[in-house]
Every structure is written in structure tokens, then in C-alpha cells.
Amino acid sequence: MKVGITGHGAYVPRYRIRSRDIAVMWGQDPSAVEGGLGVIEKAVPGLDEDTITISVEAARYALKRAGIPATEIGALYIGSESHPYAVKPSGTVVAAAIGAGARMTVADYEFACKAGTAGIQTSMGLVGWGSIKYGMAIGADTAQGAPGDALEYSAAGGGAAFVIGPDDEDNVARIDHTVSMTTDTPDFWRRDGQPYPRHGGRFTGEPAYFKHVVETTKMMMGETGTKPSDFTYAVFHMPNKKFPERAAKTLGFESKQVEPGLVVERIGNTYSGSSLLGLCSVFDIAKPGDRIILTSYGSGAGADSFVLTVQPGIEKKRRLAPLTRDIINRKKYIDYATYVKYRQKLVFAE
């Protein structure tokens, strides 16, 4: 059975901190930081926000667009590397909050920044097999960056949710194909009990992000017999602005195909939510018949690639929940001290 995206929803916390304010704090050159990463500001979750609350917001919007009762959701997966609990699923809280029933399966996923797309693939399997009618796949994070680390400029909060259901022209989009690549590549990790992740510096580029994103996208185009010019939009995981731009250029995509999904400049890297928020941003403007290629990337490492075709249903559904750009533009700037408070970075010795 063919499957599609019945509804989508995005959520980004309203607080923003500017990269230059972080740079000044650590004695870095603000312009060099902005220019180097291409991240102007990042979204900061408030004190009462976490992966669960972000997921609930996004899931509610997705349900509005899907136009189905929550009780028809047969599976719910949340991909995140900042689940509030080490043991106890985020998914059960979210399922209860959106009013889903008990006849369902739930699991929390973790695969660095690509756990959300892994949830989409699992949902596609269950829907395609016919054991459930709808699945909810969410990618959400309140990403951690140690004070003073390069990650602090980009690690942000946000997420996106997708109702995966049978293919229908009333849907937002059809999922034509998905393919993944996985290797054991230790570019970025956080061990149990550690508050902040560690990374292999420049090793996170060439052998990690670029190798997986570029090869998986090529694999996808090979398997679907497509070329870059066949797509109206291309979305790649965006740990910063430079990486997806370079990957796109390597693959032969033009900036007009990539620009609409490049949300990283204004919200930072929302990890499991990153490429999915890029997709939601494309859904703000996509027209029926448009083809979209999306490749997520997760450190450790792997990439999931998707080819989607936008369905006529998008026109009616687009305005049933806030547009992604409106969510991104709804913002309030905070200073570094407030950021430290909201992210609970001050730790007192007992």
C-alpha cells in the first residue's frame, strides 16, 4: 500500500538568542562566528519546555491538518536525543496529551539528529502493512551544547510531527520512496549520565555528515531514476547553514531548491527536528505536483532519504494550523544570562 503524509505540524520555542551575544560572552569574533556557521540566532526552549511539550504542540498541529481523531493513531514514535527521562517513554505522555487511545504502540527513538525520520520509516511500514491506519512520527529536541563549545552556537529546541497514513490525494504529500545508509562512525556522542555531547571536531564533516548525506542522496536518485532538476525542493539536515549548502552544491542542486527549507539560520540546529522543520517550511509554499527530496543525517552515523510528491490536499490543509514561517517569526530575544537560566546551566554544588 502506498503511504503519505496526512498532516504535519511544526513547533519552535519563542525565545531566541543571537549568535553574536554568545560569541561576545566567549571572546570570539561575532562576525566570524556568524559567517562561519551561518547561524544568526537559535531557538531556546523556555523553563517549562522540553521534548515532550514540543512534541505535543507539533502533534496537535499535525492532527489539525490530518483532520482525524487522535484515537485513530495506532502508533507513535518520538525521535530525540533529549528525552526528558532516561527510562520512561516520552511517547506515552504525548499520546495521552493529544488524546490517543490505548490500542496503540509507542516507542522513543534515538539516532542523534535522524531519529525523527526513523519514526517516519517505522510508521510507513506499519501503515503500509495495514496493521494500523495512522501513525504519528515526531522529531523533537532541546539540544545540548556545553557552554563555550562550538555547539553552543547552534544547539537549539524545536520539533515537527507527521501523521502518516494511506496515500490519498487529500493528503499533504505522498511518500514515493525511502532509503537509508548506516555505518559505525563515531563523530558525535553523549554517554549515559553526561550532560553535554562531545564531538570529533573536523571529523564531523567530511567522513561523517558529507559522506552519509551525499551518498544516501545519490543512492536515492539512483533507485528512483531521478536527478536534481527533477525536484522543486531539496532539504538536507542542517547542523549549520554551510553544511547543507555544500552538500547541495556537491550533489548539483541549486540554491533556489534548497533555500526554502534552510531554517537553520533563524532557529539553529533543532537536531531530530532539523530536516523535518525544513520540510514543514517547504510545505508552507509547495504546490500540488511538486517533488521534494529530503535527506536527514544522524551522527554515529546514518542518513535517511525520502522522495515525496506534494498532493492536492495541501492547499486545503496548509492554513489549518500555523505556517512554519509564522511560528519561526514569533520570537522574543533573550540575553546570555537569561539563556543560562532557561537552559539551567547554572549548577550549584550540593
Binding site: 571529523f203 567530511e206 567522513p207
Partner: protein
């Protein structure tokens, strides 16, 4: 003392070679050098390997045995040599002395460093082992800081400018762009260098050599054995080595490296020539200020005139003296233990006329200058066709 020839050279690409280990790199460079020599591997009597800090970089010591093992040289004698970033040059000098003395007939001198398996901060700390740990490194001084002090003083005493420091990088990248083994095979503009991020005032990012992986090897032999070689032998006509205080603050003058002055004097005396006979020189430009110090201390330019000479283009390819035709450490890359041998690979290729687009015309005599730390060790070699 017997006459000594270099009959084979080999090196890996320099760069971030994520998928190659220390032993992969060495085997690749070693086999290439042996193949290039035309001698069968069984003829090799001994190995000298330069490596600065494999213990910290890849947690492997005793690499003399490891390299002999993986290069198929067991049970021949194998010795590791360490002199910080001058390890490679010193390994070559040991090989030369072994052949010159008559102890051995054919010796391989190699150099290797695998630097990118650890984080940049750890690499910086590993390199800081080449400074005086108690009096420099423990106080927070790392190499960019030490060379920045030399640069500042040189600017103060001789009016050397930031632009002159930057033009060294521009010139070396221009050469390196023509070197297929170079880490950065692309030119940079003066503007890019002068606008790159500040590391330790006045040193900017593009004034620094990079962190690199790589290996290089050469086959050294006696005059008799050189007759069996595949290509025309290149002769070692001069070799000099000297030391200085390990800490920068113990020197009378930090705008000169006395170890360079002494080592080159020794090498020139042995060769029986003066600087004006030298067609090209590979100098140790770990930072661009180091190239300016080197061309002065080696006697190619008067003290204080290195900056203006660079600005006037006197050090460019096929000018007054071709300095760093390979691209130098700046553009070719700087896997610390391999650098001294890679310089010799370049000089040999230049003297053989095999340097392609970066060929120094009619090169007859070439020099290599390899420095350890902030100048605590220096070794120079002079080769001739």
C-alpha cells in the same frame, strides 16, 4: 667518510586522512621509496624512523619495531628518532651517518605522524610537549603563542609587517597548488590571509601550518650501491645539526634561531659551498614568521630583510632563491615527524627535474631546513645532482 646518495623517495598525500592509520601511511611511503630506488627490499640494512609523538597521537610507542614489521624489514635494525618537528630530518642524518661510516650500505630513513585521530585541543597539547613543559607549557604558552612573540619582536626590531607575514602564506599556497601531495592545493589571496581569524596576535589562522597526517621515506645508500639504482642518484653533500635552549626566554635574541645559524654553517662547510650556489630551499615554515626567520638565519637574506625580500618576490618560484617550492609546511601540510623527510623528497624530485608545474629551472643544488620546537633543534641538509 664515504659518499652518500639518495636513490629512492616516496610520500603519501598529506591531509586529514581519516581512513589511514599510522602503519598504513608508513607502508605506503616506504614501499614507494623502495620501488623508486629500484633496489630489492632485501638489500636494506636498517631503518631510521622520525616520529614526534605517536604515544599521544595514536597511543603507540615502539614504532621502530612496528614499522620494520609492517614494512617487511624484520629482523633488520630499526630505530626511532625523536626531535619534535625535526624528527624526520634527524632520522635522515642518522641514516646518512650509518652509510658514511661504512656500518651500513643501504638504509631507509622515514618519517610519519598521524595527528587527526584526537581532538584539536589534545593535538595542541601534544605539540606543546616540544616546548619547555615546566617553564612554558605549564604557564599556558602553546606554539602559536611562542611564534607570535618572535613575530612581534621581529616586527618591533626590523619593521616586518603583517602584510609580509601574510605574503609568505600567499607564496607557499601558490606553490602548493601545484603539488599533488599537498593538503591545500589551492591559492589564497593576501586579503583572505589578512582577514583570517586571529590565533595569537599577530599570528592569524592562515599564518599557521595545519594539523596533518602523512608519511615520507627515502632510501639512502653508498656510492657503490647507487650504481644499481633505477634513477640518477642525488648526492648528500652537506649535513648539519645544532641545538639551542629549549625555552624561548633563555635566548639572547628571539628574532634569530641560533640552531639554524650553526647547523647551516656546518652543512655549508661540509659541502664546500656558499648560499649563492643553492637553487632552492625547503624551509620549516610552521608559521609564516618562521620562514622569514629561516631565510635570514640560513644566510639567504640579511637579518631583518626577510620580510621585504618576500614582498619583493625574491623567494617565489624561480626567482632569486626558490623558497618552499613544495608549498612548505603551510600549504603542503605538517605531519610533524614526516616533515623533515618530505622536504628531502621535494628536494630530490626538484634535482631530478620531476617536480612538474613547480619545477625550479636547472636546479643543481637544494637545501632542506627542519626545526624542532621553537628552535631548540635544527637540522639542515644540502643535496646535489
Amino acid at each position: 667518510m664515504r659518499k652518500v646518495a639518495i636513490i629512492g623517495v616516496g610520500m603519501t598525500d598529506f591531509g586529514e586522512l581519516w581512513e589511514k592509520s599510522l602503519r598504513d601511511l608508513t607502508v605506503q611511503a616506504g614501499l614507494e621509496a623502495i620501488r623508486d630506488s629500484g633496489l630489492p627490499g632485501e638489500e636494506i640494512d636498517a631503518l631510521y624512523a622520525g616520529c614526534m609523538s605517536s604515544g599521544i597521537f595514536v597511543q603507540q610507542e615502539h614504532i621502530a619495531s612496528l614499522l620494520a614489521d609492517y614494512c617487511g624489514l624484520v629482523p633488520k635494525s630499526a630505530t626511532r628518532v625523536e626531535g619534535a618537528c625535526a624528527s624526520g630530518g634527524i632520522a635522515l642524518r642518522q641514516a646518512i651517518m650509518a652509510v658514511a661510516s661504512g656500518m651500513h650500505d643501504v638504509v631507509v630513513a622515514g618519517g610519519v605522524e598521524k595527528m587527526t585521530d584526537i581532538l584539536t585541543e589534545q593535538t595542541t597539547m601534544a605539540l606543546a610537549c616540544a616546548a619547555d613543559r615546566e617553564w612554558e607549557a605549564f604557564q599556558g604558552v602553546t606554539f602559536p603563542g611562542l611564534y607570535a612573540m618572535m613575530a612581534r619582536r621581529h616586527m618591533h626590531d626590523y619593521g616586518t609587517t603583517e602584510e609580509q607575514l601574510s605574503l609568505v602564506a600567499v607564496k607557499n599556497h601558490e606553490n602548493g597548488a601545484k603539488n599533488p601531495h599537498a593538503q591545500y592545493r589551492r591559492p589564497v589571496t593576501l586579503e583572505q590571509v589578512m582577514n583570517s581569524s586571529l590565533i595569537a596576535d599577530p599570528i592569524r589562522l592562515l599564518h599557521c601550518s595545519p594539523i596533518s597526517d602523512g608519511a615520507a621515506a627515502v632510501v639512502v645508500c653508498s656510492k657503490e650501491k647507487a650504481k644499481e639504482a633505477r634513477s640518477e642518484p642525488i648526492w648528500v653533500i652537506g649535513s648539519g645539526q645544532a641545538s639551542d635552549t629549549i625555552a624561548l626566554h633563555d635566548r639572547k635574541d628571539i628574532t634569530t634561531m641560533n640552531a639554524t645559524v650553526v647547523a647551516v654553517r656546518e652543512a655549508l662547510r661540509m659541502a664546500g659551498i656558499t648560499q649563492k650556489y643553492v637553487d632552492l630551499v625547503e624551509v620549516h615554515d610552521c608559521f609564516t614568521i618562521a620562514e622569514i626567520l629561516a631565510i635570514e638565519d640560513l644566510g639567504f637574506f640579511e637579518k631583518g630583510k626577510g620580510g621585504p625580500a618576500t614582498q619583493e618576490g625574491l623567494t617565489a618560484l624561480n626567482s632569486q632563491i626558490s623558497v618552499n617550492p613544495s608549498g612548505g609546511l603551510k600549504s603542503k601540510g605538517h605531519p610533524v615527524g614526516a616533515t623533515g623527510i618530505a622536504q628531502i623528497v621535494e628536494v630530490v624530485q626538484q634535482l631530478r627535474g620531476q617536480a612538474g608545474a613547480r619545477q625550479v629551472k636547472d636546479a643543481e643544488i637544494g637545501m632542506a631546513h627542519n626545526v624542532g620546537g621553537s628552535g631548540g633543534t635544527c637540522v639542515t641538509h644540502i643535496l646535489s645532482r
